[in-house]
């Protein structure tokens, strides 16, 4: 090769590691380019350099060094043998397969539980929305019914008065087909744990009061009570009365009526 001449005197220095950086880089590049003659010459120089090791006088290292080395080597050999014996019994790929299967099963179970929980949660949310919607529809229907009862010319207005002149009047509006709406403003609160109960007083002599719904005024003494399905007794009812009763109402009055209003 043409360029070989410039490297001919560098082989020994190269093998010794004594060339300066520039010279070494140039020869490295030349060798990397594939010059077989120079590669052989470098190998020969390396062999020559390796012979220089004989210039160092032999010397005996301590017995402790051999002891440490043998201890390390025996331990590594034992570990390698153990690994070799263990290997055929349970191949690594089998462990990997089992581990992957186990992980997949755990993930599937966890994912299934998560999906079940999500479906349950979604069902609960849907049921709550349906309940809310039904409540709103019922409130809307009740409000419509109340409004109709209050404005329909066919309804009968029944004022209910108290024996106490300071107690505000109540007013009932009775529609023969839609029911009764009873309203009150600034009504004194009933006794503790008591509610107001509506009664239908029959015209028939000796007839017992017919129990209706109960209500408790709010903090301002305001209330509206809708009796959507009163007994079809408008013709047979002489009056309406309000008493104080225990929560849930009573089958027959337990106190003297606080308000009474007669049907004309």
């Amino acid at each position: 090769m043409k360029n070989c001449d410039q490297f001919r005197e560098m082989f020994e220095g190269y093998a010794l590691g004594a060339l300066d950086a520039g010279e070494r880089a140039a020869l490295d590049a030349h060798l990397a380019a594939g010059c077989k003659d120079c590669a052989k010459a470098v190998e020969e120089a390396r062999w020559l350099v390796s012979q220089l090791a004989y210039l160092a006088p032999e010397s005996t290292p301590s017995d402790m060094l051999k002891g440490r080395l043998m201890q390390t080597v025996r331990a590594e050999a034992l570990a390698a043998q153990s690994a070799k014996k263990f290997k055929p019994m349970v191949p690594a790929w089998l462990w990997a397969g089992v581990a992957a299967l186990l992980l997949f099963s755990l993930y599937s179970a966890w994912n299934m539980q998560r999906l079940v929980r999500e479906v349950q949660s979604a069902n609960e949310r849907a049921a709550a929305l349906i309940r809310e919607r039904l409540d709103l529809e019922a409130q809307r229907a009740a409000a419509e019914r109340e409004a109709t009862i209050l404005i329909d010319p066919a309804s009968v207005k029944i004022p209910l008065t108290s024996s106490d002149p300071l107690t505000p009047k109540l007013e009932a509006t009775w529609h023969a087909k839609l029911g009764i709406v009873l309203t009150g403003q600034k009504v004194p609160a009933p006794s503790r744990n008591r509610v107001l109960q509506l009664w239908l007083i029959p015209k028939a002599p000796g007839g017992k009061p017919i129990p209706s719904l109960t209500v408790r005024p709010d903090a301002d003494g305001k209330f509206t009570l809708l009796v959507a399905n009163p007994p079809d007794l408008m013709e047979g009812t002489a009056a309406l009365a309000i008493t104080e009763e225990p929560p849930g109402g009573s089958p027959q009055p337990t106190t003297t009526p606080r308000w009474v209003g007669g049907l004309t």
Binding site: E9, E12, G13, L16, G17, A18, L19, D20, A21, R24, K40, A41, E43, E44, A45, R46, W47, L48, V49, S50, Q51, L52, A53, Y54, L55, A56, P57, E58, S59, T60, P61, S62, L65, K66, R68, L69, M70, T72, V73, R74, E76, A77, A80, Q81
Partner: protein
Amino acid sequence: MFLAALLPSANTAVSPDATLVRRLLQQDVSAFEQLYDRHSRAVYGLILRILQQAGTAEAVVQDVFLQLWRNAEHYDESRGPFLPWLLTLARNRALDTLRLKSERQRRREDQTEELPPVVTAPEFEKQLDEKRRAEKVRALIGALQPQQKRAIELAYFEGLSHSEIAEKMREPLGTVKSWIRNGLLRLKEELQATA
């Protein structure tokens, strides 16, 4: 020509070292112990010559033999004898250690492989046993001019570059290069002539 001597070995007999190295591949502790017993004196002598400190030298010897135990497959018996390869590994390790304390570290950083290549031995080399070869090398280098011998030793045992040797010996760079090159070429010729 000397290169003409670089022929494949006609001698198919396997050396004791090569047999022991093969057994190392099977994790044979006994083979390792035999290799250590055969060569630890030469390895330790070389490393001690470079490092000049027994404790550090033993640590490097331990590192060299553990490298051998763990990477025995890097030795290719078809390319050359075992001991020069092992001693090259030992020199590289010792110079690496020396470089840790030296400004020469960066210069030589990429020069020393983790494990050295096995160099093909010339045919005549195989006709000399270890003992005779060692004696011959010592005699030949010992017969060189003192300055020439000193330059070769600075390069080999201290890992100095041509420029550093010239500076240390206060001699022209070209002279130092010639001393080293001519000394090695003379060694080669003498070994060849002896064989």
